[in-house]
Symmetry: C2
Subunit: 265 residues, 2 copies
DNA sequence: TACTTCTTCGTACACCGTACAGAATTAGTG
DNA sequence: CACTAATTCTGTACGGTGTACGAAGAAGTA
């Protein structure tokens, strides 16, 4: 017996066929629209994070009783799916430049900017990667950016995943620091100053020559410049170098290692 | 007024100074050890995910009352921090090969394997990236792998982040599919078959030339081979190409500095 | 023995998502 | 018009969560 189609797909694509969207329904009109609900949820999640987005809280902010939300949206999970697609739709996809490197950079940067504007996007990725209209548009746009390098279909897809995944990781690292600072009430620097003594005492006996040196350099650079944009710059340049070299067919190729036992448990 | 040092740091490094670990305490002995609690939590999270790890559930599995756990661990968040470090400590860090490419590959693969063995590691990364002993050991090991390429301290750190971040992303993508399948009760293929009709109807009017073609190719390749290992392979090769090219100080379109042996294919 | 300190545990609170039933409101039907 | 059916809105309730708090008991010290 086959499965039923997913009802929330129609909700995701609710703007696709606006002709007969509302074929005159019986009961009272809805006070709000789904878009208004989702927009309010986005606003709330932007301000206070996905954890702080509760059905009761959102309903209260909208002047509704808690359960009323369920006439707009089947569940909190579905709401989040709608939020993702709606947030993606807010940024207009810029025109793609001609130069390949610029195109790939742009794919990563757009993703990075969105993940900074809506940090909860990174947490929401845990739910099903459903195809909403804006997600579909964006995927098509991303593929267009990578298309024409001479890669195969699979490699094109993997390149997109590589770029947006990396951009998301940079955003995630920033978000983690902000989150920790917000909830511990002290900055990264204050935390370190408060714990350096304890940590040094605990780590006595162990030696971390590289980690000590590198960690210090990273800490200084981070708090001095304060721009994790540099981090984006570096990794992005490496990735694009590698992709372009591969596309040009000039990258050195090696056999993958034997899959079993490159290290023991 | 300066901040107090973080109490859970001592808990993280509880094995660091075992001499005077227990300076004769008064009340009854604890029935369990912190390690046993954390191990049970890891086991539970491995089996059912981080969401299913509740204090009551864990306590029940250990034969304790719920609140008793709080004599071992200050809070659920701290427990997760301990879980992360303890899980990291379970995999012995393999010896690093000589060839640079193999070293970088190994860094990514170890991370990938761990993220597959403990999928909740990816969710747990949301909490503070605290320095536990095993995390510190691993960081040092990762830096050692990248060291010697001629990169600066910052770039070395960023390269590590690039590799492990990528590996985590691949694992995350797999986990997402598994999670969706588990909770929807149908496989990716079944879902598609059930929703292809609806989706096609909804997407009428829009055209996704690339996404359609690529998506189909990806879907076939994915379900046919079932190996996301290929995805790891591809991105990893690009990243390492880019990093090594950069380390060699040569722009992407230059020859690599003739390693002793590499065969082209 | 009495005191102190620690572990264990039951209860309680605030919050969460949401199932359910009833009241109010509107559109279609006679 | 009245009547019915569908739909929105709402309050209450259930089972779940993390954890604050206080009581009870055990083990060490005086």
């Amino acid at each position: 017996m086959p499965h039923d189609p997913d009802p929330s797909l129609r909700l995701l694509w609710r703007h696709a066929a606006p002709e007969q969207e509302r074929p005159r329904r019986r009961g009272p009109k809805q006070r709000l629209t789904v878009d208004e609900v989702v927009d309010a949820a986005i606003e709330l999640a932007d301000a206070e994070g996905l954890d702080a987005l509760s059905m009761r809280g959102l309903a209260g902010r909208l002047g509704l009783a808690a359960m009323t939300l369920y006439t707009y949206v089947p569940s909190r999970k579905d709401l989040i799916v709608l939020m993702v697609d709606q947030a993606l739709g807010r940024t207009a996809l810029p025109e793609l430049p001609d130069e390949p490197r610029r195109r790939l950079e742009l794919v990563a940067r757009v993703e990075y900017d969105d993940c900074r504007a809506h940090p909860w996007l990174l947490d929401a990725a845990g739910v099903r990667p459903w195809l909403g209209p804006n997600a579909a548009d964006r995927y098509e746009w991303q593929l267009t950016a990578v298309d024409g390098l001479g890669l195969g279909d699979l490699e094109t897809d993997q390149t997109v995943a590589l770029l947006v995944g990396f951009a998301g990781n940079i955003a995630r690292a920033e978000q983690r620091v902000r989150h920790a600072e917000h909830e511990s009430g002290m900055t990264e620097r204050e935390w370190w100053e408060a714990n350096a003594g304890t940590l040094g005492e605990l780590m006595a006996g162990r030696s971390y020559p590289l980690a000590g040196r590198v960690g210090q350099a990273v800490g200084e650079a981070y708090q001095a410049a304060g721009d994790p944009a540099r981090e984006l710059e570096f990794g992005l340049a490496r990735i694009i170098d590698g992709v372009l070299a591969h596309a040009a067919g000039t990258a050195p190729r090696h056999e993958p290692p034997a899959p079993e036992s490159y290290h023991q448990r």
